[in-house]
Symmetry: C2
Subunit: 195 residues, 2 copies
Amino acid sequence: MDDIEQLIAMLARLPGLGPRSARRAALSLLRNPETRMLPLARLMEQAATTVQTCSSCGNLDVVNPCHICTDTHRDRSIICVVETVGDLWALERSSIHQGMYQVLGGTLSALAGLGPEDLNVVPLMHRIEAGEVKEVILALGATVEGATTAHWLQEKLSSTGVIVTRVAHGVPIGGALDVLDDGTLAAALMARKQL
Amino acid sequence: MDDIEQLIAMLARLPGLGPRSARRAALSLLRNPETRMLPLARLMEQAATTVQTCSSCGNLDVVNPCHICTDTHRDRSIICVVETVGDLWALERSSIHQGMYQVLGGTLSALAGLGPEDLNVVPLMHRIEAGEVKEVILALGATVEGATTAHWLQEKLSSTGVIVTRVAHGVPIGGALDVLDDGTLAAALMARKQL
Ligand SMILES: [Zn+2]
Ligand SMILES: [Zn+2]
């Protein structure tokens, strides 16, 4: 494969790009090496160093802890548990959640071989043990894996005394959180119910 | 803007990516810096040097002249004129054209301020003057600009003695060539008619 074919192949591997859009993106980059391709290349090399995973909530940010974890205007007593950073970003765009987050990094999945030890929950338990948390909102996808994970987390948190809620139905069955429009997300979060 | 927002913004500027797919692509890159982001960054930096515009036909390739221009199995007597490299690639995928190409790099457009001097036709005229060309196929989009450009080229080539054809209707009105399926493209090319 020459550099052009390789560039198209690497772009096509990104989520959201099919073979056709990968070709169009590659062409646009190749036709504008100085104004598009090199600036993007340099930015990606830079971002590989500057962008880190927040050791507290699991968000991606240029600072660690992330800007959400250090924001003194947010409600530290409510933690919203999400599967991915994409879900966190989707909730942030809806501006409805004023509390903190915990990004699990996935769901329990026998198929994918993901067990409890693969999910990022230790920082959540630490924050709960520290006594500042009143409510944990489970904002997981309405999938089998999401439901399994919600059930497992509910059990795990039952002895801690915190209120565990989950986002209301409204998340389409089988759907992922980060493809929802902001209104649906906001409605689902507002109408959350205690488990 | 921090590096994350900037990465999303730069990706969203690529054709084929909306804000949502740009976010998903950025996340995928940021979550896999070593396996995805840095390899792609390095490939783009490399491609900025290796990929060149073919001085003969205007194609993009890692060699100049491009692999089509140096392919001795292709018919040098037929030149297919296209607007963009994307159109050339689309025709190559359909495998129906066994001749050569000329990429204009655009169309005549009063709106975009593009005149005859902005189109890459000098190499085409040289090849015609060299006496090896029998037919020029105009494979331009069925847009006002495409039709204007076809008409202008037909005039320009009328005194040279080469047969000028254009691809058959089948290219949807208002449509660009490189979003057509291979079958439509092939049919349009097969049913070309002399002007
Ligand atoms: Zn954080
Ligand atoms: Zn060439």
